[in-house]
């Protein structure tokens, strides 16, 4: 596969090799995935401008994430929620604008590195102060309702889509280009195995656990989505244990899939896409965006994006090419 490094400034026309010029005509998959991440950040920023976010309900929602977390984690969350409650308009406007700028910054090529780096820092902050570390320390968390937190997946995506390449290293999939295949595979394994573990937590194995989780999403949803949820609810009624085991097995298969040969890996990635889509539609109701009170599209969408970054491609060995503006990005040609 021929690609130019995503986020790189174009090399001077005179310096481009014929191969690089041809490569420029081909769609750069990593850049497309970066743009998808930019779109999600932009969407998050716009959602943050919703009326609900300027109300006390937003700070109450943030304060709620402290519940069940250890004291050292919960105290800063409570402090942050109190601060936001006192300055809701100003702080929320700043939050929304930051997220809007992150999206624009990733989409604007000269600022892609700065914006991706900032998005990692911002994601970690939001993951703690806004999502209570995805509630992963509380024992009351499920992959069906957003574990391990959408925003930590944004950070992971920013790392994996970083516009750099490891010279001389074959990149079997996009996520391996910046961090290398072993690290990328390990990150994938940890993520999906942790999801499998969460699926088997006692709270999720209860007969009506999944039923209750999906039924809880119906409030405020449009009729057709509520009807979909009701259909799913009837399917999983009293089937909590079975559903948890099936889900966990699927998640484990997905987790180890990236270590399999490309054809099998593609199969497990399709499974990952299906699982993520099912979670997004039935478990998360598109993040509750259609209720007017969502801060993001939840974890289903970033999981889809993540799976696409691991889609096997023809391995390429990337060699650096001089760029027009050093420091902004490195142009790469396939060889």
């Amino acid at each position: 596969m021929s690609e130019i490094a995503a986020g790189a400034r174009p090399a001077r026309r005179g310096r481009l090799s014929a191969g690089a010029a041809a490569a420029r005509e081909a769609p750069d998959i990593r850049r497309l995935l970066q743009l998808a991440l930019a779109g999600i950040w932009l969407l998050d920023g716009l959602l943050q401008y919703q009326a609900f976010m300027f109300s006390k309900g937003f700070s109450d929602m943030l304060a709620g994430t402290a519940s069940g977390n250890p004291g050292t984690v919960a105290s800063p969350i409570t402090w942050n929620a109190t601060l936001i409650a006192h300055h809701a308009v100003l702080l929320n406007a700043i939050f929304a604008t930051i997220q809007l700028l992150l999206g624009i910054g990733i989409a604007w090529r000269p600022t892609v590195r700065v914006a991706l780096a900032a998005s990692i820092a911002w994601s970690l902050g939001v993951w703690w102060f806004g999502e209570g570390l995805g509630m992963v320390l509380t024992g009351d968390v499920s992959p069906v309702n957003g574990a391990p937190g959408a925003v930590i997946l944004y950070a992971l995506l920013a790392v994996l889509l970083w516009p750099a390449d490891r010279p001389g290293k074959p990149a079997p999939f996009v996520a391996a280009r910046a961090v290398g295949a072993p690290v990328a595979r390990a990150l994938w394994l940890v993520l999906w195995l942790s999801l499998a573990y969460f699926a088997l937590l006692p709270g999720n194995r209860a007969p009506q656990a999944l039923h209750g989780m999906i039924a809880g999403m119906e409030d405020g949803e449009p009729g057709w989505l509520a009807a979909l949820d009701r259909g799913a609810v009837s399917l999983v009624a009293h089937q909590g244990l079975t559903a948890s085991i099936v889900l966990a097995v699927a998640l484990v298969i997905v987790a180890v899939g990236v270590y399999l040969p490309a054809p099998a890996a593609r199969g497990t990635l399709v499974l990952a896409l299906v699982v993520a889509a099912v979670i997004w539609v039935f478990g998360e109701a598109f993040g509750g965006i259609m209720t007017g009170g969502a801060t993001d599209p939840n974890s289903g969408l970033p999981l889809v994006l993540l799976a696409l970054t691991y889609w096997p491609t023809r391995a390429v060995i990337l060699a650096p090419v001089r760029t027009a503006r050093p420091g902004v990005g490195e142009g790469m040609t396939a060889s």
């Binding site: 174009p10 969407l43 716009l46 959602l47 009326a51 000269p110």
Partner: protein, 258 residues
């Protein structure tokens, strides 16, 4: 409630877009160059009208026309850009939907039409427009609002990417705009080139794009006959910048009216 000053800021951006679009129309004077050339002013006319309408929706004091009139305007605009998209598609196939410039305008116009048609009764019949955004009304069929918002965000992100680098099409990038075109030059309000405009339009430098292909069929004039040079306010990136601002603002409005 969304603070009024936030809505004021978005409305101010829309007024700026309207002013820039009007300036582009005045500078290009498309009405002096025949019906076909005048038709190519559609982008700037669309930007002008949509920006005025959105400013009026955001701040009720800026309302200009009744909602019914805007519905007619945007219905006509949607039909026009649908026609342009179909024509582009006949030339370029499905690329017209992604790489062409009529598809985003079609989505913009359709989203505006939807916004005016679907806003709930209290806002539509009340102070006009921003009722939904300030908690007094919402959009019916929220799935449509979500889908439109996704498309608008997607096109805005794509425009930003293309504007900041050559990308795969490169027909309106800042970088491409500095390249001197050779041979016949495509004319248009947003992409016209004149005698002294070798630096001219990015559109002219990428005749393979869906947009260029579509326009090449309609209007292909020698540089000497073109009235404007594609620089300054007529530079293609100015129109694209307006489109990005409108796309983001429109997505904002759709999401807060859900």
């Amino acid at each position: 409630m969304i603070p009024a000053w936030i809505l004021d800021i978005f409305a101010a951006v829309m007024l700026a877009v309207a002013a820039v679009s009007a300036a582009r129309l005045v500078a290009a004077r498309p009405w002096q160059h025949g019906v076909q050339r005048a038709a190519l002013a559609d982008i700037d006319v669309a930007h002008l009208l949509m920006a005025i309408a959105m400013a009026g929706q955001l701040v009720s004091g800026l309302r200009t026309l009744p909602d019914g009139a805007w519905e007619v305007v945007f219905a006509v605009m949607t039909a026009w850009f649908a026609y342009r998209v179909v024509r582009d598609a006949q030339v370029s196939g499905l690329r017209a939907l992604g790489g062409g410039h009529c598809a985003p305008h079609f989505i913009h116009a359709a989203a505006m039409l939807y916004m005016f048609l679907a806003v709930s009764a209290p806002a539509a019949g009340g102070s006009g427009g921003m009722g939904g955004m300030s908690g007094m009304g919402t959009l019916q069929l929220p799935l449509l609002a979500f889908l439109f918002a996704l498309l608008l965000v997607g096109y805005s992100i794509w425009d930003l990417d293309q504007l900041s680098g050559p990308g795969s099409s490169g027909h309106y990038s800042l970088a491409a705009a500095r390249v001197a075109p050779t041979g016949p030059v495509l004319a248009g309000v947003g992409a016209s080139a004149g005698p002294g405009a070798a630096a001219g339009s990015a559109l002219a430098s990428a005749p393979s794009s869906a947009e260029a292909a579509g326009q090449a069929e309609a209007v292909q004039v020698p540089p000497a006959s073109a009235p404007a040079d594609g620089r300054g306010v007529l530079a293609p990136w100015v129109a694209t910048g307006c489109r990005i601002a409108m796309g983001i603002t429109m997505a904002f409005m759709l999401l807060i009216m859900i």
